[in-house]
Symmetry: C2
Subunit: 342 residues, 2 copies
DNA sequence: TTGTAAGCGTTATCAT
DNA sequence: ATGATAACGCTTACAA
């Protein structure tokens, strides 16, 4: 039962009693209140040491109306990009003593909606949310009354702070990278055809812009769908393209996982990378530096994204943020590796 | 401020007032107390709906002495094995309405000790702990007075439940897998020389046993150190071996990350896999199925590990576990892929 | 079947 | 500089 779970049953009262002061004084010491006689402070600290006292965060949260935790809702930790993002966010949040509660939505619409209204919201001071199923048409859902920072490109012009990157420009740069290497038949893997907004749409748009700027028409058979951006779906989409006999000399994977899956399919079909087909991905996950061949990619500056998201959220929570929603566009760069002849 | 963080300021009192009942009755309805008049129940539920009331978990936790959260202390989410483990544990825990708070220790001794006594312990009902720095000599530290389940092979015979696998047998099987394919000069990447216990020591032991059983002496130059098991350290260790001119026809990476790093180094040195050098890893992370060549590996049954750990911990928390510490040895299997000619 | 009231461990208000 | 005491919102004896 409850008895088993405390590192020690000591409460502030016990400390106060042992130190011969009131609980208020103990509280003052713990919270760094400045006007305390050094002798008193020392007595309290000794008592804390003797009893092995630790503040009960639950009680503090109830009283303060703040828990010191923030939520992080993302699709799933099995996707390397999100695992690396979570790692960074947890690390950065910790610098301010903030704990992170991860909620996996599996990119399901229902679960993303639930994340916005879950009982967990009562347990966290705010939310960093990376939606993958909800989109512009759901913009109303994002008008919540708790601090939130949105990640990604599913929703624009909403009422919350938003950290994103210029996906169109980044995708244009990735495509230009392939064009500059003489590639003309560039397939895109990971498109979401029905979709008007969202990461996929923006990256495909960047691709189209680069092709147009190069005076190349886009063969629509080159734009391959892949719903969830996993290695397996990239593999499947690439396989379809190859089986259909579509002529290809380059692949732009809309993230690294689909690019890696596509490389897998290319190998199975005996295409050499980059000689027959050059490949570039997006996200620059660690795996990209160790695949065979190593994978060129768009590096989104994950640290900057994480740091900005946490900082903005904490400002909202503390009420030090401006009233109107902020939008941050983070930097990106192209990392050239073997898969594009780097 | 606090005002901003509630989905609605409604408390149980508000609900009780609107429904014309006492807070006790509202509480009864929420907690599924059976003896409530249907009409009353309905009135309460209506009021809850009208006010958009949600129970305040913090208040409930304080009163109940339980938070409904468990901690998960692991090295870092950037390591695919731990990311996949965390994903599974979060998913499994959710089935019982349990939330998971992840703490990253970076495999640092100080941070692992801190995880055992952190203020967070007051916020969680128990801990699933996967230590990497603490070991047998620290067994005393694991004698904590909160529910805990230990993962991995750093500590045996401790006072807590322990979920592990037979690393010696698994490593023996991996080595035999290579021996069966005619390999004789089998390098091990990822040894921790000074260490007597721990995953590395056990897996190296399994390797030695298999070599001995095959009547082969172990050339100590084949046992290569790699501190943290990352792609980068596997790469470095393999590079060292190759530069030293050690003759090698197979590699046993003590986890998949070092195996993948080693493959990277082998490619740079022009060795073909598996023709010149066969490679097997350990963990069977998703990446192993998509690398080039695909990587044979020891699959530890992550789902079983996660499920057992959560189940045991919840039993401890609920007091339905037997007094004495339990030890579970989970199953493993060898997955044969291209890197060993599969 | 439902209500009253105490208390979980803190912090905050107001005295002193 | 420190102390008494009332909240925070909920659960739970105990009453009715």
């Amino acid at each position: 039962m409850g008895a088993a779970r405390r590192s020690s049953g000591a409460t502030m009262h016990d400390v106060a009693q042992l130190a011969g002061v009131s609980v208020k004084t103990v509280s003052n010491v713990i919270n760094g209140y400045p006007h305390i006689r050094p002798a008193t402070k020392e007595r309290v600290e000794d008592a804390i040491g003797v009893l092995g006292y630790r503040v009960n965060i639950t009680a503090r949260s109830l009283r303060r109306g703040r828990t010191g935790m923030i939520g992080l809702a993302l699709p799933e930790l099995g996707l390397p990009y999100f695992a690396e993002l979570a790692e960074t966010i947890i690390r950065v949040a910790e610098e301010t003593g903030t704990l992170v509660l991860i909620e996996q939505t599996n990119a399901s619409r229902d679960r993303e909606i639930e994340a916005l209204g879950s009982r967990v919201r009562h347990l966290t001071d705010g939310l960093i949310f990376s939606p993958l199923a909800l989109g512009q048409e759901d913009v109303g859902l994002f008008d919540v009354d708790f601090p939130m920072v949105l990640l990604g490109e599913r929703v624009f012009g909403g009422p919350t702070d938003h950290v994103t990157m210029d996906n169109v420009a980044a995708a244009r740069a990735a495509t230009e990278h392939l064009l500059a290497r003489g590639r003309r038949r560039i397939a895109v893997i990971g498109a979401h055809p029905g979709e008007r907004v969202g990461t996929a749409a923006l990256r495909v748009q960047g691709y189209r812009e680069a092709m147009a700027a190069a005076g190349l028409p886009v063969d629509e058979r080159l734009v391959a769908e892949a719903g969830a951006w996993h290695r397996s779906t990239g593999d499947a989409a690439m396989t379809r393209l190859l089986d259909d006999g579509v002529e290809i000399d380059a692949v732009f994977g809309l993230n690294d996982a689909v690019a890696l899956g596509a490389m897998h399919a290319l190998r199975l079909h005996g295409r050499s990378i980059p000689d027959d087909v050059a490949v570039i991905g997006f996200d620059d996950i660690e795996e990209a530096a160790y695949s065979a061949p190593t994978l060129s990619s768009v590096a989104p500056g994950a640290e900057q994204i994480a740091r900005t998201a946490v900082e903005y959220l904490l400002q909202r929570i503390e009420g030090t943020a401006p009233d109107q929603a902020r939008q941050v566009v983070t930097d990106f760069s192209i990392v050239t590796r073997q898969s594009t002849g780097g």
